[in-house]
């Protein structure tokens, strides 16, 4: 009887850990997907968030490694993410180039620059034990709320970014209902008409991408300075693209991002757990595949014929 109770306790711990880690791992994707959602509402499809995240992860790691100051690291991440995003904005807004092609190229640029600079700083023959930073971003217990028995430990004991992301989703949901939100939706649906009604399309789009660059950089920095304490080549491994897929699944509705993002991360946490348990009949490569398979499958089931903003990813040339 006692052993049965123990097994039950273990099971509970397992489920608790699973839910806790899916909430905690979701933060970068939640941050970046809410920012990208607003940008897409404004008619820009920014694939280069993947690159912004990667550069953010790299620069925050480097700064944290040399200064051991996580605040500087976050600032560096924000600035470098912003830099790439502004380059994207220049190419797609000012020069009105194809957004998808530009996004892909900038991602390759980010991949090249980070892997080059990583080796330039630590040498080509990266030792089997990669360089690590000493401190990572600590979790922050919200004083009273975290005392609530199970829920408190689950929800109110995370890194600060998790709470910010949570609040931001609601904030952006409200933002879309304001005057500014209306303008954003207008430039995403029909920039020509918005322009004739007196909205400065390009300036507003620059503003949106400015915000997104900072958020994407910081969300990337979480990978190298909060969850891990090191940098790996192509560390983001498609998370930016996943975020874009999740936005389609959420049908461009900020509040629907919660179920999609958390369900995706539940799958991700589950596969990590499966790997850790080491099931003999289930090769670890298959569990690594799960999140990607899930994304495709979810797009197939729920992403059909979903209508996004009408002018999404269409280059807009201002009439003169």
């Amino acid at each position: 009887m006692e052993s049965f109770g123990e097994a039950e306790g273990e099971m509970n711990d397992l489920i608790f850990g699973l839910i806790y880690s899916s909430i905690s791992l979701a933060t970068p994707i939640l941050l970046v997907s809410i920012a990208e959602l607003i940008v897409e509402k404004g008619g820009i499809l920014n694939l280069s968030i993947e690159g912004s995240m990667l550069i953010g992860a790299f620069s925050s790691f480097i700064i944290a490694y040399y200064t051991n100051n996580l605040l500087y690291a976050s600032i560096a991440a924000a600035l470098s993410g912003l830099l790439l995003c502004l380059l994207f904005a220049f190419l797609t807004i000012t020069l009105a180039l194809d957004q998808m092609v530009t996004g892909i190229s900038l991602n390759l640029l980010a991949l090249g620059v980070t892997s080059y600079l990583y080796r330039a700083s630590f040498g080509w023959y990266v030792s089997p034990i990669p360089p690590r930073i000493e401190r990572t971003i600590a979790t922050f217990e919200i004083p009273i709320l975290s005392r609530i028995p199970i829920v408190g430990e689950l929800i109110f004991n995370h890194i600060p970014h998790t709470y910010v992301a949570f609040i931001m989703v609601f904030a952006f949901w409200l933002l879309l209902k304001t005057d500014l939100g209306l303008k954003i939706k207008a430039i995403g649906e029909d920039p020509e008409i918005a322009e004739t009604l007196g909205v400065n399309v390009n300036a507003l789009r620059y503003f949106l991408l400015f915000m997104e660059g900072i958020i994407a950089g910081i969300s990337g920095s979480l990978l190298s300075t909060a969850y891990y304490n090191m940098f790996l080549d192509n560390m983001t491994s498609g998370r930016g693209y996943v975020a874009i897929a999740l936005i389609i699944l959420a049908r461009w509705n900020p509040l629907l991002l919660f179920p999609t993002v958390y369900f995706f991360n539940f799958i991700d946490a589950l596969q990590l757990r499966i790997q850790a348990i080491g099931l003999a009949w289930f090769p670890y490569q298959f569990s690594l595949m799960l999140p990607y398979l899930f994304t495709i499958l979810a797009l197939f089931i729920m992403g059909r014929k979903v209508r996004g903003p009408s002018s999404l990813a269409k280059p807009y040339r201002r009439l003169r």
């Binding site: 998808m100 092609v101 090249g112 090769p283 595949m289 197939f300 992403g303 059909r304």
Partner: protein, 353 residues
């Protein structure tokens, strides 16, 4: 006259683009405390010394095949980012084919390569159907499939098809009679190089520029609405262009396995310069022109080999090739814009006369 002028500006633009990418690369090297001139001397030495040209061509072959396929897909505006996965799937299926039929003493290479190509095409089938039938963005699905492909290959190499003798996760070596033979003795230059440059390039050129079907692809890419009016089955054309692209990427993997590596390994495409993604750069840099693609593949192939020499002789990280490539891509995008402006100006001047 007008066409010549446009070609000239395009040519000059490509030179400017490559030049400026190198200048920025030099700045980065200098900032990291290296000697840029010395580095680039070794880069070009390693790439284009007569003795090393066969190696450059060998390196260029998978790039060429992948980017020729991408030229077809991109012409139909199917943004296939999944060449990396298709390349791996092609490579592993060629290797598995050879391991299964290793005791059949027949020259089965063509069938192995066909098998590799078909499995690459199969890997590209799902995203293209999802795109055409359900309107699901192919960039996301093909990219997801890259990760899935590489994990799948990793499973095959560590599980059922692992060489029991080897220390590394790789398949058995392919027996000599199933390898692609070397053409010029004393080098590693193999028949696959000759085949790719002298057969595949003309075929793709003829296909895209001289056939009805190629015209359909181009109309579809330039203006989907016009394609609809001219009764082109756009869905079918899009799927087929993606399948061609997947086929060529798979073929590239097969040739790489049968002729160069002689086994399937996880590092089939080097981590500092993944062929599938490099192919995207080449296809875009060539303005989707199949002939230009051949030259640019050789150039980039040289860049990759040269950056190894540069690494050995001037200790600059190999990733420099990657940086220069991606800079080239960004500049080529700006080049599209400049060219657009320039050609308008030329047209207006001609009208004025």
């Amino acid at each position: 006259m007008l066409v010549n002028y446009l070609l000239l500006t395009r040519f000059l633009l490509i030179l400017t683009v490559i030049g400026s990418a190198f200048i920025i690369g030099a700045v980065i090297i200098a900032l990291c405390g290296g000697n840029a001139l010395l580095a680039f001397y070794w880069l070009f030495h390693g790439a284009f010394t007569p003795m090393l040209i066969p190696e450059t061509l060998i390196r260029a072959t998978p790039l060429l095949l992948i980017s020729e396929g991408l030229v077809v897909a991109f012409s139909a505006r199917m943004w296939n980012i999944g060449a990396e996965g298709q390349f791996y799937i092609g490579g592993v299926s060629a290797a598995i084919f050879c391991v299964v039929f290793k005791y059949v003493m027949l020259p089965l290479q063509p069938i192995a390569l066909l098998f590799a190509g078909l499995s690459g095409a199969l890997w590209a089938l799902a995203p293209s159907i999802l795109k055409v039938r359900y309107g699901i963005n192919e960039i996301i699905t093909t990219l997801m499939l890259n990760y899935i492909a590489i994990y799948f290959v990793s499973y095959l190499l560590q599980g059922p098809f692992r060489d029991p003798i080897s220390m590394f996760p790789e398949t058995e070596s392919i027996p000599t009679h199933l390898q692609i033979p070397v053409v010029v003795s004393g080098t590693r230059l193999h028949l696959g190089v000759v085949f790719s440059f002298l057969v595949i390039v003309p075929i793709i050129y003829y296909f895209l520029e001289r056939t009805n079907y190629g015209l359909k692809i181009k109309i579809l890419g330039a203006n989907p609405k016009a394609a609809q009016y001219s009764k082109i089955h756009s869905g079918r054309v899009m799927i087929q262009s993606m399948l061609i692209s997947g086929f060529l990427a798979g073929l590239a993997g097969g040739i790489e396995v049968l002729a160069v590596q002689h086994k399937m390994r996880l590092e089939l495409s080097p981590s500092y310069c993944q062929y599938g993604y490099t192919g995207i750069a080449i296809a875009l840099l060539s303005y989707l022109n199949p002939i230009l693609t051949a030259f640019i593949s050789i150039f980039i192939g040289g860049l990759i080999n040269g950056s190894m020499t540069m690494h050995r002789m001037a200790s600059i990280p190999v990733g420099m090739a990657n940086i220069i490539q991606s800079l080239i891509m960004v500049f080529i995008l700006i080049g599209y814009y400049v060219e657009d402006k320039l050609s308008w100006r030329v047209l207006e001047r001609l009208k004025g006369k």
